[in-house]
Each structure stands twice: as C-alpha cells, then as structure tokens.
Symmetry: C2
Subunit: 365 residues, 2 copies
C-alpha cells in the first residue's frame, strides 16, 4: 500500500465511498435493499445477540490493529450464538466513525471480521456507517437453533457436572502483556522473557515475579487477539446427548470470566456449585511464570476466553471432555446450595465463596 492510500481518511471519500470499498466483504446479493433477507431452515428458532464496542473502552484504535478489533468483535458475538446452542446465519455491522479515521484501518477491521466469519461460513448481511466523534462498532449476530437444543443459563440441575471447554486466563494475560510490552525486558534477554504483568490493582496481587519465554508470550497474546468461538463444540455435544437421552443441559460462555459464568448459571438456576481449584484448566504458559494464585485470578476473573461453561450429567460430561481433548475439563459440580464455593481438594487453601464483586462495572470510576 503506498503512503497516499494508507493516509486516506474516511472524510476524504465519504460514507458512499467507504461503502463501495467495503462491499467486497459482503455477499453481492444482500447489497442494495433496505434490509437483508436470509433463509432459515424449517422448524428452527431464531437467535439474536448484539454487542457494542467503543474505542478507548473495549479496544484502542491506536494499539489494536483493525484486523484484531474486527476478529475479536465477531468472535464475541459468535460465542454468544454458540452459547445458545445455535448455528450462525449472519451478522450486521453498525459503524460510527470520526472523519479522521484511516480508511485502511476500517478496511482492516472488515478484513479481520471476515477472517473470523469465514471459519464459520457466516456472511456480513448488512450494516450502517455513520459519522461519530467516537469510533464505535455495533455488531448484531443471528443464528438458528433447534428449539429442543437451546442452551439456557437457568437449566443447571443439582448433581450435574460443570464442564469448561478449554483453558482459562490466557486472553487476560495476553492483554496485560500487550498493555505492558516492557515487562521483564530489563531483567534478561529482551527477546526471550517477560515478568508477570499486573492486572488492575484489585484483580491480581503480585507476589513472586517469574519469567515467560518469548514463544509463550506470543501464544498468550494470540489468545487475546484471536479468540475462537466454540461453535465446534456443538456437534460433539449433540452427538453425546442425542444418543443418551434424557439429559439436563445448562450453560453460557465465559466472556466475563469463569467465575462470572458459574455464578450466573447458578443464580439463574437457583442452585449452588463447588468448583475444584486444582481442576480449573490453565494455559501451560502460566507454569513457570505465575504463582498458582495469580494464575487462578486470571482464569476466574480475566474474561474473554470465550469458552463454553456447561452443566450436564456426569457421564455425559465425562464423554464430552474426553472427546474435546486438551484443555476441556470437569471443574466442579452443581449443588443444592445457594453459593459458588471454590474448594481445594489438597486442603492448602480454605473454601472461598465466589461472587461477581470483582467483575467489571463499566460505569464505575
């Protein structure tokens, strides 16, 4: 790209000019009408979800490439579709853009969205581009689901096992490494190690600092920049459940952290849970870098791992974990209590009640 092209701003080509450039990311048949028309399969219900991402709040136009912002925005929405047990049909994209935003950034945003969407055969089916003082990305995603397969938060049953579909904490750790790129660079070979970065004050107490290999650093950052919605879990889940009826099934995704997901499921279902501290699957990159306690803070409260957290009978939970392989685990069970207890079977730590106090309050100071 020559410098003239890369310095082109949205205000230089206007809304119409930008739309023309972005049409290549959309299927041609959907362009030009007041709304898009999508076919659905007979007997399926419609699933809809929406997310708004704001520059400076959810991403930074300066530190986040357009591609990463696009990928992450799509992944978050498709993860919500997966969390309902649904198959995606399409997304719409509403963009608010200051006139000075680089056209190349917007094209990269669409590039990143498309890269993630293509993995799941999902088109961009509509959108709106408007002027705004703040770069804003509003995505709505649509999917379809067999009504008998909808996964809801309020369906956890006492005695169910709690399954997570993969490791937790990698995304939040990756974000910290992005925000603090200098960590460890003055301690040792600047290219090969990184000391543990702090999470926001209340969220991670730093104690011993340890070292992180450069390759591991890359893996964690990638986990943050390119999270994968776990749509791949669903066919495996249906195969196990369909062959083994009747069953209970509850769940959601872990976009706001593993602790949040378990607490939300229990609250909606009117049940409690015990989570085994040592069973929570952690990224192996944490091993020689973070203390056990630090690692657990990332896993429980970090968020944006976009795994599924499911409650289902023990036998089926075991089969699911076996088939999903690495990272998937049974982390605890649903109880008839009213709290979510973090338990340590090694008895090194006392029982701890998990709640949502550590979650984000978007408007708090």
């Amino acid at each position: 790209m020559n410098s003239e092209l890369s310095s082109l701003q949205v205000q230089d080509i206007g809304e119409q000019g930008l739309l023309v450039r972005l049409q290549r990311f959309c299927p041609p048949e959907i362009i030009g009408d007041d709304a898009a028309v999508l076919s659905t399969e007979p007997g399926q219900s419609l699933v809809v979800t929406t997310d708004v991402l704001v520059d400076g709040v959810h991403f930074s136009e300066i530190t986040t490439s357009g591609e990463d912002a696009g990928w992450r925005a799509v992944a978050a929405n498709l993860s919500d579709i997966a969390a309902m047990g649904a198959t995606p049909l399409g997304i719409t994209v509403g963009l608010g853009l200051p006139g000075e935003v680089a056209v190349s950034w917007v094209e990269q945003l669409y590039q990143g969205m498309t890269q993630c969407l293509q993995k799941y055969n999902t088109p961009i089916v509509g959108g709106d581009i408007v002027r705004s003082p703040t770069t804003t990305i509003a995505i709505s995603a649509f999917g379809q689901v067999d009504p008998s397969r909808v996964i809801r938060r309020n369906q956890a049953k006492v005695g169910d096992a709690i399954v997570v579909t993969g490791v937790h904490g990698a995304s939040a750790a990756g974000l910290q490494l992005l925000l603090h790129p200098d960590f460890g660079q003055n301690l040792s070979d600047s290219d090969s190690v990184c000391v543990a970065p702090p999470m926001p004050a209340a969220r991670l107490r730093l104690s011993g600092l340890a070292l992180l290999l450069s390759a591991d650093r890359t893996v964690l950052i990638h986990a943050h920049q390119r999270p994968k919605p776990r749509l791949d879990v669903l066919p495996i889940l249906w195969e196990i459940l369909d062959s083994d009826a009747p069953h209970s099934l509850g769940g959601m995704d872990s976009s706001d952290g593993l602790a949040d997901a378990v607490v939300q499921i229990c609250r909606a279902s009117g049940v409690g849970a015990v989570i085994e501290r040592t069973q929570i699957p952690l990224p192996k990159q944490f091993n020689h870098w973070l203390t056990q306690e630090q690692a657990l803070e990332y896993a429980l409260y970090g968020g944006e791992d976009f795994e599924l957290v499911l409650s289902l009978p023990k036998g089926q939970a075991y089969a699911l974990v076996q088939q999903l392989g690495e990272g998937a685990a049974i982390v605890g069970k649903i109880t008839d209590g009213s709290t979510v207890i973090l338990h340590d079977q090694t008895e090194e730590y006392p029982d701890q009640v998990l709640n949502l106090d550590r979650g984000f309050q978007h408007f708090s100071h």
Copy 2:
C-alpha cells in the same frame, strides 16, 4: 419525578443498575441468556436491518427528548422492515452512554421505543449497554417475510406506476421548525404564526415568506418527532396483489427523501422514471406557508417521511391508492429511460433531471 431522581446519572448506578431499570421494557422470558430466541413461522425468510444514531449527528440529547429519540430510532428500523414487505419480530438495542447522561433520559428513550414498538406488537429482545464518550444508539430489527412477497428495489418494470403511500416533506419542515423556534414570532401573534424556515443553504431557496398557523406548526413537528412506519400498507397491498396475479412489484422507503427513493429504485432496476410535479402529495399545512417550489424541495429532498415508494402495474397502483386514502398517490411512472425526470403537466416549469447530488454525504465538510 423528584429532583433527586431526575438528576441521577448513569455513572451513579452503573451498567447493572441501568439494566435492572430497563428490564421492565423487555419481555421477561428473553432476559438472562447470551442471546434471545425467537420463533419464526414455517416457510418465512428472515429480514434484518441495522441503524446507528449518534448524538449531535442524528439527534441532539439536549434538544431531542429521550422519548422522541427512541420513537424515531425504532420507526426508522421498522420502516426498513416494512419496505422489504416483512412483519417485525423484534429489535435489539445497543447503547453507548457517557457516565453523565441522566438515567431519566435513558428511561425516556426506552419509553419512546416501547411506545412505537407496541403499535406493531414488536418486543425489545436484547441489547448491550456500554460506556462511551458519545451517546450512541445502535438498533437492529428482525422481521419475517414470505419469500414470494419480498419487496426489492431492483424489480421496477417499464410501464409500472409509482405509488407513494403518503405526503412528503412534513418531517423535514417539522425539523426546521424545531431548529428555528423563533421563526415568525416577531411578525405577528407569537403563538399563532410562523414564517418559512430555511433548509440548509443548498437545499431550499427562500423566496416569499408566508405564515403558518400554530396548529399546523404542531402537526409538522409531530410528523418529525413521531413518524409512523407504514407496516399498515402491507396487508392492503397483499390483498390487491394476491387477487390479481401476476404482478410486478418494486420499492423501498423514503427515509432519505422521495427523490432519493425513486432514483435508487430506477438505478437498481436499470430503468428511468417520470415524476409529475403536481401529483406529489404535500402536507396541506404547506398551502399558505410555502411557495410551490419550497414545498417541492422539502418533499423531494427532506427525507424521514418513512413512507413507502412502490412501483406496480397501473391498475393495482390505482386500487392501492384508493384503499390507502388521504395522502397516497400515483406520482409518476417507470420508463425505459436512464434518468428520473421531474415533469410539469401544466408546463409552467421545464423538465428537470433528479439525481442524488442533494442527498446527504455524512462525512463531507
């Protein structure tokens, strides 16, 4: 509402606190999961559309009440659904809010959205509320349509009549009256008359100023604040078309003005059109207030009247206009030309080619 309540800001109660207050506007069964599940009728296609509205660009939080902003945002989206021939199923609402926005403004916004939605039995089925430096409203609307009844822009056929479902220009005139509340107040009884307000320089040449009665002023402002999506047209249209197959049918809504709608339809269909200047239905409030030329500028370029502009065979067009009654009219016909001509059958004005040059370019200076 006491002053303590009305001065409450979003940052005082946080995202969760705001969500709790807004839940009363949503059906209880949709709250709490990662996405909403909606039933669709068998054999129907899904229609989706999205709009982003930004404070200071599309509305002003200071001059627009929350209720009006909410009504208008919903009306624009439901109009897109109507323009596709579809029936609405639900909307999602994504909100970006500065911490200092009054909670009461946000509640009024939802009140206004709900007032408009209730007229069309349409629920709010999901949403997202995030912090943002700029108040932003992103709405996606979903509908369902019999695939054989989809109304597309590219289906206008040579010889078709062009129907508009109501008067044009009222909304833009109402906006000007809101922006310039003092017009005419120093000329006469301040409560009873109003002189013609200017549209943005290039859009309306002012010549003779005339007077507007207070009651008429109210009607025009109401047309701007509370536009009605023409979903009511569809059952009438289907009855006429179904009893009289085969038929051609093209169309869209007039959200960006009547001229824009006709040009867009012709461009998409590869046809031309002749519009009869004297056949364009104008608000009767324009009669003793605006010159014929001013009135036509509002009607052609004002926008946001949210009427439907349809092309269909002459006999059916006539039947539709008869049944819709006041305001509906045949304004012209589709030709095998390549331009849209504004023609004057009284021969007072020469033919004029309509194009989109006068339309908005959102990012232009």
